[in-house]
Amino acid sequence: MNTLTVHIPTLETERLILRAPTLQDAESFIAFKTSERSKFTNGPLDRAAAQVSFSAIAGMWVFRGYGLFMAALKTEPEIAIGGFGIFHPAKHEEPEFGWSLYDARYEGKGYVTEAMRAVIPWAWDVIGVDTAQSHIDEGNAASAAVAIALGASLDADATKTANAPGGEFEDEAPFVNIYRHTKGALK
C-alpha cells in the first residue's frame, strides 16, 4: 500500500529548538493571531479562524515538504514562542522565508535572527529552494530590520509589480514590501 511520508526535522540553535508543530502549540499561536500583534500578518482573526490557520500552517509540510517550524526555548521546550520557516501558499510563486514571534515578552533577545540563521541554510542546502522572498507590510519596521540583518534587500521592482493591479498583493492593505534573499547573503 502506498503511503505519503512527511519528514519534519528538528533544528537546534544555541538557545532554541525548532520542531514540528504540535496540537499543544495551538494556544500560543491563537493568542498571537487573535491579538494586535498579528496586524502585519493578516490578523487579528477570531478564535475559530485562528484555530483553522494553525492547522493550515501544519498542512504546508504535507503539500511542499517544507513549512514553518515552531520554536521553543531549550529551557521551556513546551512553549512555542514563534513560527519560523518557509511559507509557501498555493497563490505565491516563490517561497517566503517567514518569522513571527508570538509573545512580546520574547522580544529584544535576538531569537528571531537566531532562529532564521538555522532556517535559511536548511532551506538553501537541505530543501534546495533556489529563490526566496520575505513579505513585510509597510510600517513593520521590526521585521524589515530583521530582513536586513539576515542579508536580504528590498526588491523594488518586485514590490512595485506585486502591489500594482493584477499583482499578488493588489488586494492587500497596507502595501507589502518584498525583500529578496540570495544564497550566500546570510551574514
Partner: protein
C-alpha cells in the same frame, strides 16, 4: 538530528482511491467551496478561505496523525471529494466526514469511501466509536450515514455549520 515523521496511507476501494492531498487538488476543492454544494459545511467561501480549509485538512494529519483523504475516481483520475476521520477544534468528538464534489453524487461514492474510512478507524486506529456530525437539513448526508447503519444520537450546535445531528455509527462489534 531528530525528525517528526508523518505517514498518510493510501486506501483503495472498488472504484476509488483515498489518498493524501496535493496542491493539484486545489482547483477541485476551491470549486466545491465556491459552490452552493458547500452550504452545509461552512460555505460558499472565497478561494483564499478554501485554501486555508484545504491546508487545515492536510495539517490535521500532521497534528493528530489521522485525517481526511482526497477521493480520486479510479476510472478518470478526477478529484471527486474528501472523506475521512477528523477531530478539529469545536467538534464534540471524533468524526467520520464526507464531502462529494459536483458530478460525483448518486453513485454511492460517499458510502463506499466512508465505509473504508470507518474500517480504518476501527481496524487500524483502534477506535471503538465514531460519529458523523451532519447539518440537520442535509438529507443526502443523513441518508448516507443511515445506509451505513448509523443512528441519531442527539444534536450539537456547531459554531459554523449551525444545528447538527449526531449520527452515531455502529461499534466494531455491532458491524461484525
Amino acid at each position: 538530528m531528530t525528525t517528526t515523521t508523518i505517514h498518510i496511507p493510501t486506501l483503495e476501494t472498488e472504484r476509488l482511491i483515498l489518498r493524501a492531498h496535493t496542491l493539484a487538488d486545489f482547483d477541485a476543492i476551491a470549486g466545491f467551496y465556491a459552490s452552493d454544494r458547500s452550504k452545509f459545511v461552512g460555505g460558499p467561501m472565497s478561494a483564499e478561505l478554501a485554501w486555508r480549509n484545504m491546508s487545515q485538512e492536510a495539517g490535521h494529519w500532521v497534528l493528530q496523525g489521522f485525517g481526511r483523504w482526497i477521493l480520486e475516481e479510479k476510472a478518470t483520475g478526477k478529484t471527486v471529494g474528501m472523506v475521512g476521520l477528523w477531530y478539529p477544534a469545536g467538534f464534540p468528538e471524533r468524526e467520520l466526514g464526507y464531502d462529494l464534489y459536483e458530478g460525483a453524487t448518486g453513485k454511492g461514492y460517499a458510502t463506499e469511501a466512508a465505509t473504508a474510512a470507518r474500517a480504518y478507524a476501527y481496524d487500524v486506529l483502534g477506535w471503538t466509536t465514531v460519529i458523523s456530525l451532519i447539518a440537520k437539513d442535509n438529507a443526502a448526508s443523513i441518508a448516507v450515514a443511515t445506509r451505513m447503519g448509523a443512528k441519531a444520537d442527539g444534536t450539537f450546535p456547531h459554531e459554523r455549520f449551525g444545528e447538527t445531528i449526531i449520527m452515531r455509527h455502529p461499534s466494531p462489534e455491532g458491524l461484525s
